[in-house]
Every structure is written in structure tokens, then in C-alpha cells.
């Protein structure tokens, strides 16, 4: 027995369990299930349902006590099988059922319902209740995504606690009291939370149901596979469930390392596009203004011939590729290998000019794990609004900041009290963010002046002395990224360089798009080779003779296309017109390039201009690996067949290589994974076998000493300070006009919409009415005006990529005039 454990006896079995753990958890971990409804391992216990009543003897004789509110103590005896315990549990279930409607046949929960299951296991045979049950209006929509049936509710407070404790938007609460207690939203305040879907998953009955899944299937006709969400880069573990070859829902998996069971609504409900009837199903070849359907052979032969022509006439450097961040590592590896060995060009980039330096993202020094957030004394978030762009990281940081420790109550251990006090959270962002309510310090700056603020923070004088002092307390975890599309990408690196001077500091560089980290690790960048190897690294010989001169990045590719240097451009799951902040540039570049190929799920704004469009397999349709922002490699799995004739990217590229007289030498995605495991130093040994059978939480790369050849020290060059009368801040929101969202109608309509947010004083100064025209460095739009007193004066905010608004450019200087 160590100092961290105590001995307890559960049903006659002596167990050694961690100190401070709750009886219900300790028993469960050792094979004794105590029934429960309200207790959830990731939230504070409330002891409301009383289902977990067992005999607990702490020296004063056995007493009926709730196992979910009692921490273990040395010598404690727990009896879960005594007839009196059984009777108490039966009694509680009878109480719960007297007002529970017998809706089971039509209830979405029927078949996977904890109330059903526990009634079967612990409940009375029949009810003695002969009176009229309590009635409420049957399901009422409490948001666009969630329905509430108060008759079925057993008032366990899981949803209310989740929204208050975990997600921090307490929009759902108990109303009234006693027999008439109900869960509901406040009048005129719908349950508009980015995390509302979690309440559906943790509801122990069918009181909260998802509008999308409503009556679509029963649990017994679902097939399921575990996978990894790729809406953001956190690598959230999910279960995909499908029926009749149609994906019907996602559930969160409680993976300690990543999402701990929670998902954002975008992740949970954002799969509509996979089933969309707008999906590309056959290859298309340009025919005048439109397209004609073609066979794979015809389309690939055409591409092979045209690419060959370009390489012959203008050299391999006239060919470029954008994208690769939406697919798997295997797809990215195939793209990287195709460009390097078949074409012989380093002009490829998975970044859409809206994120950070490739080396910094892929191989920064002192990289943090997500779980380091829990142990940090100080957390610095200088980057995107986590709630909008990295929702599950937001939950993690929020929890660390408020310092609630789930699973423990009133334990007096010092460690617990220290953790309960929470980390000091410093948030730096040009605008209000979701983390502000729990932040100890919030620093705001005007876009373009970040470098100035950084210098002041480094000096720690005046009003920043307190913040600087807080940052001096380690361990420090810093989440750094680009706060918006008008910010200089070098600022985040400079912040990281500053963070490295702090004690015990770790850095988590933030990029948003799906598998950006995986694609970079596979070398889909002008300066990188697979496995975090620099392009100039001569020891990388697996691909034979490849060009060693760094190629063009995204911006340079687009500029090259405009200048006529790039003759052929491959878009692999990329939509530059929508995603590149300098939308104007992308727009003209795609029009200028002589030969454009798009591999995509949809005919996007960019793919619509292509000469050949190839249908690709999407999420849930192909197997592979992805890498999250901490370098964790996890599997994504297939559950439904692709749409029509669609194929995975790697297979398209493999076929194309063959038609160009070369070969990538792949037989299957798994074979690619094997090749990666051999060729890419940081990924050495990470095969599917390992991921499927050994590493439940994935594998963090690099695996060990020396397996990451490139270690990048963040550069301390924050870029110029740009001052102007009006500066633009433009950042992404959770729901936007991206291609997957656009084809997921129920989420697309939740997009906030394009608008110009200005401070009321500025609005008055500029004489703005209901609409205003905003002219950015690379685009302009006439937008409705929203006054927002939380903005700094002189800053205008336009959410990025909203329906009806093109990207406005990456320069913060804008002009606004009344329209």
C-alpha cells in the first residue's frame, strides 16, 4: 500500500484504491457496478438520483449512503448486495418510474437506455402506482439541434451540470420545484450552445434527443466503428454509427488524452455532407462552360497527358499542388511522394496561407501535450478563439482554469486543493473570446499591434507587471496560433519564442484545418519531407533522387499561377477561393492557371473552375491515420462505401502515377502506413496494427530520442507593427460557409452570417447606418452593421468565410464607408 492508496472492502473483496476516489468509481474500476443515473465521471457529483445507495461502513456501522458522494477511506466496508440495499434501489427505481411515460417503443433511447437497463437489472417487477402520471407538453425544441421531452426526464441534472460546469453556457436549468420540477431553457433563450449535443449523449433517458437522429434508427440496427473527428485538429475520439450504409450519428468517446468524451456540435452533428446528394460521384471533364461525365480511365489519362506536357515543356517546377490537409496521413504521403518522385517538384502546400510556418507547426521545440493543460500552473492562450476553432481544447482549458476536479468531493489532500484552485489563465486576443469569463487576465490589442503588446509583456511593466508575474509561475502551457486572418503569422512564433523564456514552458502551436499536422508530417509542405525531415536533409534517401531546393508555399504558388510560372495546379481537397485570406489573389490565380485538377467531395467554388474534377472518398468512407496538434497519431475508420465511383486520394494518385509511366508502389492504405512507418523517422513503427491493437489513445510522435530529425526553434521576429485608423480582425466561427458546413444544412443555417462588427463610437464617427461597405486589402463587401461595445475602438470585426462575404485580405488596414 502506497501513500496514494487506501484499502477498502467491497462485497467482501479487499481492494486497494486511490486516495480520494469516490466509492462508486473505485468499485466500478474493480468490477463492482453500482447503479447510477446522475453521477458522471467527468462532472462533480450531486447525489440527486439516489440510485447508488449502498451500505457503507466507515466504522460506525453500515449506513445507506450514496456511493457517488462518498470518498473512499481506509478500512471502509461497502456492501452492494445486502437485501436492504436491493430494496432501497428498487424503491428509487419505482419512484423514478412512477412519472416516466412508457414511451420506450417510440423513444430514441429505447434499446440503449440506462433507465431501461437498470430497471431490468435492479428494478421492481411492476409498479404499484395507479394514479395519473405527470404530464408536460411532449417534445419541445429547445434549440435547433436538441429536443426536450420533460415527461421522460428523471431530473438527474447531468445536462444542467454539463452546461454550467463543463461548457460554461448555463442555458438549461431546473425550473419550479418538488413534484413540478422540470428542466427547461429560460424564455426567449434557446439552448444555443456549441456543446448542446453532449447533453443528448449523457442524458440517461430519452428526455434530450437530437433533432437529427430523431426516429432515424433504433440502436439495434446501427453498426458502429471507432474513429477520430477531423473537424478540428484536436483529434477527438468518436464512434460513427451507421445504418443501411448511411451515417446517422457520432458519439464522443471518453479518451483521457483528447476529448474526454465531449464533442462540439460541429463535430457531433457535422456529418450531413457525407450523405449529401450533392456529392461528386463520377469524374468530370470540362466541356465548354460546364462539365461532362467521364470514366476514371479517361479522366486520369487526360491528366497524365497534360501534366506530362507541362513537365516536358516548362519543367517540373511548373506543376504545383495545394491541399492534402483534409485527408488521411496515407493520402498526404501519397501526394507528397507523387509530387516529389513522379512530378519532381517541391511546390506543394497543405496550408491555405491562413496559418503558421510549416516547421513551427510540425516540429517546434518543447511541444506540449493536451494533457499538460491539466497540470499547468499558468496557461497562456494567444491565438484563435478556442471556443470557435478548437472547441474541445476550450473545454479542457476552461476546466483547468476553473479548477474543478471531477470525481472528488471535499477531499482534504493538498494536491486536490491546489488543483481545485485552478490554473492562472491569460488570454490574449483582439476581441472578446469564449474563455474570457474564466480568464484571470485578458489582454486585448488591435490587429497589427501584437508585436507592440508582446514587447510590453516581455518587459512586464506598468499594467502588465501582474500578468508577467503570473507567467513566471511554471509549469506554463502556451497555446499559440494566429488570432485571425489579418495577423502576421510570425507573431505567434515570436510569442512562442517568448514563452520559451518562461519556466517549465511548453508550447502547443494551433492550426485549425483537420489533418494539417499529419499532412505537414507527411511532407505536404515546400520545405518538409515525411517524418519531420527538412527538404535539405540528405540522409533521407527512401525516395531516391528528389529535388532538394525548397519549393513554393501556398501564396507563392498562387502568385506563380498568376504570373504564368505555374502551368498546372492540383487541388486535393482544397478550396483556395474560400479559404485563402487573400481571396482576390486565389480567385485570379485559379482563373489564370492553364490546367487545373480538383480532387474533392463537392464541386466547390474552386473545383468549379477545374479542367478535370475527380470524386474522392470522404470521412467515414476510408481507413487511415490522422495526426492531431500534439502529434498524436490515431486511426480513422470506414463504415460506409464512398459516393458513387469515388476513390480515396492515394488510390487516385497511385493510378495517375502509373499512367504517367511511374509508380508509387502502393497496394493499399495499410501498405502506405507500413511504408510511412519505415520511411518517416518520426513515425517509425507506427503501423495500423499498433494503433488498432496496442495504443488505445493513439501514439504520440516522435516516438523517442532522435526520431525527429528536425527540431525547430521559434523565430523571434514578430513582424512589422501596422497602425491605421481602422484595422480589421477577421476570424473563423464554428459554423461558417466552408464546403462541409455548406452541405450540412442544419449547421450551415446556424452560421452567424456575414456582418461588420464595429464599436458604437466608431459607427457614430463613421456615420454608419444599417449597412456599410468595407474594403480590405484583397476584397470588399457590403455588410450589415452590428455595433459591439466589447470591441476596441478602431477595430472592426468581420467573421471569416460567412455566407455572402468573400475573404477581405490578410492586411489589417481597411476602410469602411456607409452604404
Amino acid at each position: 500500500m502506497s501513500e496514494h492508496t487506501v484499502r477498502i472492502v467491497v462485497d467482501g473483496r479487499e481492494l486497494e484504491v486511490p486516495k480520494g476516489e469516490l466509492v462508486i468509481k473505485a468499485a466500478q474500476d474493480n468490477g463492482t457496478y453500482i447503479p447510477r443515473f446522475c453521477w458522471h465521471p467527468r462532472m462533480k457529483p450531486v447525489g440527486m438520483c439516489r440510485m447508488c445507495l449502498v451500505f457503507i461502513d466507515s466504522g460506525r456501522g453500515p449506513m445507506l449512503t450514496t456511493a457517488c458522494t462518498t470518498p473512499v477511506a481506509d478500512g471502509m466496508k461497502v456492501d452492494t448486495t445486502d437485501p436492504a440495499v436491493k430494496k432501497a434501489q428498487e424503491g428509487i427505481l419505482e419512484f423514478l418510474l412512477i412519472n416516466h411515460p412508457l414511451d420506450c417503443p417510440v423513444c430514441d433511447r429505447g434499446g440503449e437506455c440506462p433507465l431501461q437497463d437498470q430497471t431490468m437489472a435492479y428494478g421492481p417487477g411492476e409498479s404499484r402506482f395507479v394514479e395519473e402520471k405527470r404530464h408536460f407538453e411532449k417534445p419541445i425544441p429547445i434549440s435547433d439541434l436538441v429536443m426536450l421531452d420533460r415527461e421522460r426526464c428523471i431530473l438527474c441534472a447531468r445536462c444542467t451540470r454539463f452546461s454550467e460546469e463543463v461548457s460554461g453556457d448555463p442555458l438549461i436549468e431546473f425550473l419550479d420545484r418538488g413534484y413540478h420540477t422540470e428542466v427547461n431553457t429560460f424564455p426567449d433563450h434557446p439552448f444555443r450552445s456549441y456543446f448542446s449535443g453532449n447533453t443528448v449523449q449523457i442524458c440517461p433517458v430519452g428526455a434530450l434527443t437530437a433533432t437529427l437522429y430523431r426516429f432515424r434508427a433504433r440502436p439495434w440496427d446501427l453498426v458502429a466503428v471507432e474513429s477520430t473527428c477531423t473537424h478540428c485538429t484536436a483529434g477527438d475520439r468518436i464512434v460513427i454509427q451507421a445504418s443501411q450504409n448511411e451515417i446517422l450519428r457520432f458519439l464522443g468517446v471518453d479518451a483521457e488524452a483528447t476529448n474526454q468524451g465531449w464533442l462540439s456540435d460541429k463535430c457531433r452533428f457535422g456529418f450531413g455532407y457525407i450523405n449529401s446528394d450533392q456529392r461528386l460521384t463520377v469524374p468530370l471533364i470540362r466541356d465548354g462552360d460546364g462539365f461532362r461525365e467521364a470514366t476514371w480511365g479517361e479522366a486520369l489519362d487526360l491528366i497524365a497527358q497534360r501534366l506530362g506536357d507541362v513537365i516536358r515543356t516548362s519543367g517540373p517546377d511548373a506543376v504545383a499542388a495545394l491541399g492534402g490537409a483534409r485527408g488521411t496521413n496515407e493520402d498526404a504521403y501519397a501526394l507528397s511522394k507523387f509530387m516529389r518522385t513522379v512530378v519532381g517538384s517541391n511546390n506543394l502546400d497543405c496550408r491555405m496561407d491562413d496559418t503558421l510556418d510549416a516547421e513551427f507547426l510540425a516540429a517546434t521545440v518543447d511541444r506540449a501535450l493536451i494533457s499538460d493543460i491539466d497540470r499547468a500552473k499558468t496557461i497562456l492562450v494567444w491565438g484563435p478563439d478556442l471556443k470557435e476553432e478548437h472547441p474541445t481544447l476550450y473545454l479542457r482549458v476552461r476546466r483547468a482554469a476553473i479548477g474543478s476536479v471531477p470525481g472528488l468531493v471535499s477531499s482534504n489532500s493538498d494536491a486536490h486543493l491546489a488543483a481545485a484552485a485552478g490554473a492562472t489563465l491569460v488570454v490574449v486576443h483582439p476581441r472578446a473570446t469564449g474563455l474570457d469569463p474564466v480568464a484571470d487576465f485578458k489582454l486585448t490589442y488591435r490587429p497589427g499591434s501584437g508585436a507592440e503588446l508582446l514587447a510590453q509583456l516581455r518587459a512586464g511593466e506598468g499594467r502588465l507587471a501582474e500578468v508577467r508575474a503570473a507567467l513566471a509561475e511554471g509549469p506554463v502551457v502556451a497555446l499559440v496560433g494566429r488570432t485571425g486572418s489579418t495577423e502576421d503569422p510570425r507573431l505567434a512564433e515570436a510569442v512562442a519564442a517568448f514563452v520559451r523564456t518562461l519556466p517549465d514552458a511548453k508550447i502547443l502551436p494551433l492550426a485549425r484545418r483537420a489533418n494539417t499536422y499529419g499532412a505537414l508530417d507527411m511532407g505536404v509542405a515546400p520545405t518538409l519531407l515525411p517524418g519531420r525531415v527538412s527538404i535539405s536533409e540528405e540522409t533521407f534517401t527512401a525516395w531516391g533522387d528528389i529535388p532538394r531546393k525548397p519549393g513554393r508555399d501556398c501564396r507563392s504558388i498562387l502568385e506563380g499561377a498568376l504570373a504564368g510560372d505555374i502551368q498546372a495546379l492540383l487541388l486535393v481537397g482544397a478550396d483556395p477561393v474560400r479559404d485563402v485570406p487573400d481571396g482576390d489573389l486565389a480567385d485570379r490565380a485559379l482563373d489564370a492557371v492553364p490546367f487545373l485538377v480538383a480532387v474533392d467531395l463537392f464541386l466547390t467554388d474552386s473545383a468549379g473552375r477545374a479542367d478535370v474534377v475527380l470524386p474522392a472518398d470522404g470521412f467515414g468512407e476510408k481507413e487511415g491515420t490522422v495526426t492531431n496538434l500534439e502529434g498524436r497519431v490515431q486511426k480513422v475508420n470506414a463504415i460506409v462505401p464512398g459516393a458513387g465511383q469515388s476513390r480515396p486520394d492515394w488510390s487516385i494518385l497511385d493510378d495517375l502515377a502509373r499512367r504517367m509511366g511511374s509508380s508509387l508502389g502502393f497496394g493499399s492504405a495499410e501498405a502506405i502506413a507500413k511504408e510511412i512507418a519505415e520511411v518517416a523517422p518520426a513515425y517509425r513503427g507506427v503501423t495500423w496494427d499498433v494503433l488498432d491493437w496496442e495504443a488505445r489513445d493513439g501514439v504520440v510522435v516522435p516516438g523517442g530520442e532522435g526520431t525527429q530529425p528536425l527540431v525547430y526553434l521559434p523565430a523571434d521576429t514578430p513582424g512589422p507593427i501596422i497602425k491605421a485608423d481602422l484595422v480589421l480582425h477577421s476570424a473563423r466561427t464554428m459554423y461558417d460557409d466552408g464546403v462541409t458546413m455548406r452541405h450540412t444544412p442544419h449547421l450551415h443555417r446556424l452560421a452567424p452570417g456575414a456582418a461588420l462588427h464595429v464599436h458604437p463610437d466608431d459607427a457614430a464617427r463613421l456615420g454608419l447606418g444599417f449597412r456599410a461597405r468595407v474594403v480590405g486589402s484583397s476584397g470588399s463587401a457590403t455588410l450589415p452593421v452590428v455595433t459591439d461595445p466589447s470591441l476596441a475602438r478602431g477595430v472592426v470585426y468581420v467573421p471569416f468565410n460567412q455566407p455572402g462575404c468573400p475573404p477581405l485580405g490578410s492586411d489589417p488596414r481597411v476602410t469602411v464607408e456607409p452604404a
Partner: protein
């Protein structure tokens, strides 16, 4: 039998203006508060401990001991529980309404004794007039420098806030009261921690005392511990306010020492029953207490221990007397309905069980009872309060659920025949 007036003396002597500060000071008011400032925490806590003062809110926990549990962390708070909502209890109301300065002085003493600089008085939402009187008294005390900064010219600060509840019985439970005071739903907190003295208001050490308990403090200082002890029973010192109501000739508040018998209380003090009526049963300590019947309990001594041994409690001193015209099923249903209505809805057994009990009792009363209903009644009650034991072995967080079981266990124990008569005659035999 004469009353022993202590906390009600002033209002009896000067019924017209006992609530004014002039009268209060004219009758020696605030002198003990001044004295307490010189005594310091140690001596005050010791004095209250010696006096043997038991809490008057219902649980009868020794006040001095509660004070000595107060954790050393500061800030700490004093909360006066004036959320008197137990059916049949109306003693605090009188103290608030007719002698508010006595309470304010008590608050000063308690605050000084516990080195507390913030006191809250949580007044029941329905007590508008008592709250107004108390508010006025607090303002007067502020005006004279008895509250606020540097009270009585010393360097001691004390702020007192009078807070009006929103009308919930459960907020009389101390942890629910603290939740309500913090602005949350009035729901009892999980135990442990068992005492707010460790973790209370805003997570800080907190003393929660009843109005009557606090009102006794000036008198303890005046009489000394021995003087106070001499007033009452050796175990239950001092006087006790009985709120006698129901079928007696002279219902009202009576301040009496412990140790008299129920027969004396009902038949002598309260004037007995009306002409031609016989005593059927009575509730000895508020709606939550199991009932007493003449055959077993009339000559029982009224002390905390004797009542406890007989399977009930003195609680807040509300004595509800019922004569032979009372239908016990209806009486029990009314009480259970009260608890069902006041349940906070947190715990399943209380939320669902109390309403179910009410429905079954209602059905029996209306003549739709079945024989099996008696068993159902008892079993449902048993699922709320295991074994119908007293003190209850609860399946709930707070004792409200088990309180609702008391009338059910009482009528099934003493009046089974009357319940069966309801069932067999398909209606109330007394109607």
C-alpha cells in the same frame, strides 16, 4: 401554571412599543453587547457552552459547541435563520416583530464571540412586517453606531444584512438557506461537510443560528451561565417558546422552562380542549415530528431526551393539538401535501415519494382506497425513510422527505382502524 418570561418579557411588559430602540434601551438594552466586546471570543464561547443553550431551530444542537467548531479561516459569516416556516411555528415571528433589537443585540454578541464581521439575517419571504421591523431596528442600530464601523466606539466592525427569502420551506434547512443566500436554487447541500462551521456561505466558515437562540444571548450574559441554567431543566437549560395551536381554548406562544409534562402544557397552559371534546392526538414539535397520543404520552416530561426516547422531537416547539373531531387521514394528507409542495425536487425519493404519499392518502380520504393501499403507503414511506425509524434513516440528502413520512407512520401506528374504516366505508367516517 405561569410562564417564565425571558425573551418575551419586554413584549409582555410593554406591548405597545417593545420594538422601538428607545424602549429597548430604557429596559437595559445593548448593555450586554457592550460588555461582550470586552469579553473576547474565548470567554464568550465558554460562557455559552456552560449555559447549556441548545439550538432552538429544531435540531437542538448545543450552540456553544457549534461555535467552537468554527474553522479559524477568515472571513467567516454569521447567518441568522429567520426562515421560520414549519407549519404551526410562529415564535420567531413574534421575536422579530416585537423585539427586533433583542435579536440585533444577540447578533452583536454572537458576532463578537465568533470574530465575525458580516452577519446575515435570512427572513422568511412571507414575513413582510417582521422583516420591516427588523430592517428598521438594524437601521436604528446603525444610526446609533451599534452596527457598522467601530461599533460602540470600539475598533470592531460589524455589518448586518437583512435578506428576505422567496418563500420556500426548504430554505429553513441551513445549507439550502446558504445556497439561497448565495443566489442559487434553495437546495440543501451534500453532506459531508456536515457543518457550515467548516465550509458554509461562499465556501467560508459560517455559523447558522436560529432567531430564538440568538435572542437568548443577551439574557445569558445578563444572568450568567448558572443563572440561565437554573431557569430550566438540568439537561435543557433556559426557557423554550411553545407555539400551541389547534383544538385548544387558548392557542398562542408560551415561554416555559423544559421539564413540565404534556398534560400540563395542553390542559393547564393552553386551557384544555373545547367543551365536550376529547384529546385524540397532538404533534409535539412541528409538522415533521411523529405524533403523540394521550394513552402513551400525556404524562411524558417535555425535554429533548424524553421526547426523543418516545420516538419524536420537540423541534421548533410547534404543538398542534387535535381533538376527536379530526380525521387523521385528512390531517396527515394536509401535512404530506405541505411537504410535497415544499420539496426542492433534488432527491428522487422526496420529489416523487411525497407526492405519491399525498395521492394515496387523498384517495383513501375520498373513499377510493383499497386495502392494499396501507401496505403501499408504508412501503413507499419506508423507501423514503428506511424502517420508519426515528431519528430517520434517510435515503435523501436532507430530512424533508423523512419529515413527510412522520404523519404516515403515526396514523398507521395509532389509527389503523380509522384508515380501514375509510377504505371499507368508501369515505371519511367523520364527515
Amino acid at each position: 401554571m405561569n410562564e417564565t418570561r425571558l425573551v418575551t418579557r419586554r413584549m409582555a411588559d410593554h406591548p405597545a412599543d417593545s420594538h422601538t430602540i428607545e424602549r429597548y434601551e430604557a429596559t437595559g438594552g445593548y448593555s450586554q453587547a457592550r460588555r461582550s466586546l470586552q469579553m473576547g471570543r474565548e470567554r464568550l464561547v465558554e460562557l455559552v457552552k456552560e449555559s447549556g443553550l441548545l439550538g432552538r431551530g429544531g435540531a437542538a444542537f448545543p450552540a456553544g459547541m457549534k461555535w467552537s467548531f468554527l474553522a479559524p479561516a477568515r472571513p467567516a459569516y454569521l447567518v441568522v435563520n429567520a426562515d421560520e416556516s414549519e407549519p404551526g411555528t410562529y415564535k420567531d415571528r413574534q421575536l422579530l416583530e416585537r423585539d427586533p433589537h433583542q435579536l440585533v443585540e444577540g447578533i452583536i454578541i454572537a458576532a463578537v464571540a465568533n470574530e465575525v464581521h458580516h452577519a446575515f439575517v435570512y427572513v422568511r419571504g412571507e414575513y413582510a412586517r417582521p422583516a420591516r421591523r427588523l430592517q428598521r431596528a438594524v437601521e436604528e442600530a446603525y444610526g446609533r453606531g451599534y452596527l457598522g464601523k467601530d461599533i460602540f466606539g470600539s475598533d470592531y466592525d460589524l455589518e448586518v444584512v437583512v435578506h428576505l427569502g422567496a418563500g420556500a420551506y426548504i430554505c429553513g434547512e441551513e445549507t439550502a438557506l446558504l445556497n439561497s443566500l448565495e443566489g442559487h436554487r434553495g437546495e440543501p447541500r451534500l453532506k459531508p461537510p456536515y457543518f457550515p462551521a467548516a465550509t458554509g456561505l461562499y465556501g467560508k466558515p459560517t455559523i447558522v443560528n436560529n432567531v430564538e437562540t440568538i435572542s437568548n444571548l443577551p439574557h445569558i450574559l445578563e444572568l450568567g451561565a448558572d443563572g440561565f441554567r437554573k431557569l430550566g431543566h438540568p439537561e435543557d437549560t433556559g426557557t423554550f417558546l411553545f407555539s400551541v395551536s389547534g383544538h385548544v381554548r387558548k392557542p398562542g406562544n408560551y415561554e416555559l422552562p423544559h421539564g413540565i409534562t404534556w398534560r400540563e402544557l395542553i390542559f393547564e397552559v393552553a386551557g384544555g380542549l373545547r367543551e365536550g371534546r376529547t384529546l385524540k392526538c397532538w404533534i409535539p414539535g412541528g409538522a415533521s415530528a411523529p405524533w403523540f397520543v394521550p394513552a402513551d404520552h400525556l404524562d411524558l416530561e417535555i425535554t429533548k431526551d424524553a421526547t426523543g426516547r418516545a420516538g419524536s422531537m420537540l423541534g421548533s416547539g410547534a404543538v398542534v393539538v387535535m381533538d376527536d373531531t379530526t380525521c387523521v387521514v385528512r390531517a396527515a394528507q394536509r401535512i404530506v401535501r405541505f411537504f410535497a409542495h415544499e420539496s426542492c425536487g433534488q432527491c428522487t425519493p422526496c420529489r416523487e415519494g411525497t407526492s405519491w404519499l399525498e395521492m394515496i392518502l387523498g384517495r383513501i380520504e375520498e373513499g377510493a382506497g383499497r386495502e392494499v393501499d396501507v401496505d403501499v403507503l408504508l412501503d413507499v414511506a419506508d423507501n423514503i425513510s428506511v424502517g420508519l425509524a426515528w431519528p430517520p434513516r434517510m435515503t435523501t440528502i436532507c430530512p424533508l422527505g423523512p419529515s413527510a413520512v412522520s404523519p404516515v407512520s403515526s396514523i398507521t401506528r395509532y389509527f389503523k382502524d380509522e384508515i380501514m374504516a375509510h377504505i371499507h366505508q368508501a369515505g371519511c367516517p367523520l364527515r
